[in-house]
Amino acid sequence: MGMKESEYEKLSIAFLNGELSEKEAQEFQAFLTANPEKEQEINDMRVLWGHLETAPVPEASRQAISNFEDVLDSRIQDETQPIAITRGKSGTTEIPNWLLAACLLLGGFLLGRYVFQPGSPTEPMPTPGVELVDTNTSPEESGSAPDAILTLLEEPIASRRLQGVNQVAEMSSADEQVIRALLQTLITDSNVNVRLAAVEVLKGYTDIPIVREGLVSAIPHQDSPMLQITLAALMAEIQEQSSVAPLRIIIEKEQTDSIVRRALEESVKQII
């Protein structure tokens, strides 16, 4: 009895899963009997297949569940109380307060755990006791100057850079130097949450030509699906024609994730 290799490969999993009909299973068994090497392979595979799911997995801790509930509560509260910040030339833009809260929560929660794992080539371990930004105090109120923000954006610790981005979000209008620093952050920062926060702030300045150009220039530098999708959605929102070419390059890359590809195609369609 003959069978193409690809057909054998496909049927073998269905056979091990018990998904074949009685007749199909008999035919497959007859094929195995006629091909002792394949029979040996399937017998070995059956042992592995049967034990794959028995490997123990620890339970997620109660603390993790409790943490998520806290995050969810915080998000629900934030989404029902959006804040409005006046932007220089952009007019009034609603800044998603939940993003700032999520960044802070994520920053505290994730940075210590895995963004800065020991041995990471780019980031040192966070210093215990590093304080995250107090979002209730604006840079103007706290006396922070653009220079202080620029310094924060160059800090080696991601939570500090996030603090810098959040301080820009709280400014009524940022000057060109700060805007350029944010654009640079979007291209070079090693931390996805910092880059995402930078995009959210820059959204409020998209009527400034250098911001639009900078956002387009940042597209080819993003390897995070989150950033790729976020930037593509923003390009569609502001109808930035010059973004189509770099977005298409990502779409055509073989290694681009399918969900990203679909989202980017949708954004390009909206732009055109």
Binding site: S6, E9, K10, S12, I13, A14, Q40, E41, N43, D44, M45, R46, V47, L48, W49, H51, L52, E53, T54, A55, P56, V57, P58, E59, A60, S61, A64, I65, N67, F68, E69, V71, L72, R75, I76, E79, L99, A102, L105, L106, F109, L110, R113, Y114, V115, Q117, S120, S190, V192, D223, S224, P225, M226, I229, D257, S258, I259, V260, A263
Partner: protein, 183 residues
């Protein structure tokens, strides 16, 4: 009264009722934790990734079109998260350090001897870690309770047949790792 479907809960989340994401979290938390844990072997990291994933689901709730199952969408997002993390931090397959196994000959012993079974499970985990991430992933997804190959195909953006072929090849690679020194 029937429990609300994942789809209807997600539609309520999209409509602004974020509390329903908590119900979806309860339903999927354990499965997603299992997925991450089997991919990276780190419980604390896996807890973080599950939390980060649900925050993403809230942020990107508008991208759920409802054309596929909620499970497919969640696991596609989980894959992206896992990809992002290891792109940033790097993780390479380790070398297999377990014993060589005569698998089918061990079947009868495995059924009776718990010590042998534990040894196999330990070496199996070691062999899984030595697989390339794509192969480890298809096996992890294949064995997650409740995920069908149609959903796995949707997660991997391929046909059901192609997903099964990938699973076969990954299982074959696993076998070769574990029996290598016997043959």
């Amino acid at each position: 009264m029937n429990a609300p479907t994942d789809m209807s809960l997600m539609q309520q989340v999209q409509g602004g009722d974020l509390r329903k994401m908590g119900v979806l979290y309860q339903r999927y938390n354990r499965k997603l934790f299992g997925y991450f844990y089997k991919m990276n072997g780190d419980a604390a990291l896996s807890e973080d990734l599950v939390q980060n994933l649900f925050i993403r689901l809230i942020d990107y709730r508008h991208t759920f079109s409802g054309s596929g199952s909620f499970a497919s969408w969640v696991f596609r997002t989980a894959r992206n998260l896992q990809y992002d993390h290891f792109k940033a931090n790097g993780k390479h397959p380790v070398s297999y350090t377990g014993e060589p196994w005569q698998l089918s000959k061990s079947a009868a012993v495995l059924a009776e001897d718990e010590g042998v079974r534990e040894g196999l499970i330990r070496d199996l985990r070691n062999a899984m870690d030595s697989l390339p991430a794509e192969q480890r992933e298809i096996l992890v997804l294949s064995k997650l309770r409740g995920l069908t190959f149609i959903e796995i195909a949707s997660i991997l953006d391929c046909t059901e047949g192609a997903a099964k072929v990938r699973a076969h090849r990954a299982l074959k690679a696993l076998r070769e790792i574990m029996i290598k020194t016997v043959e």
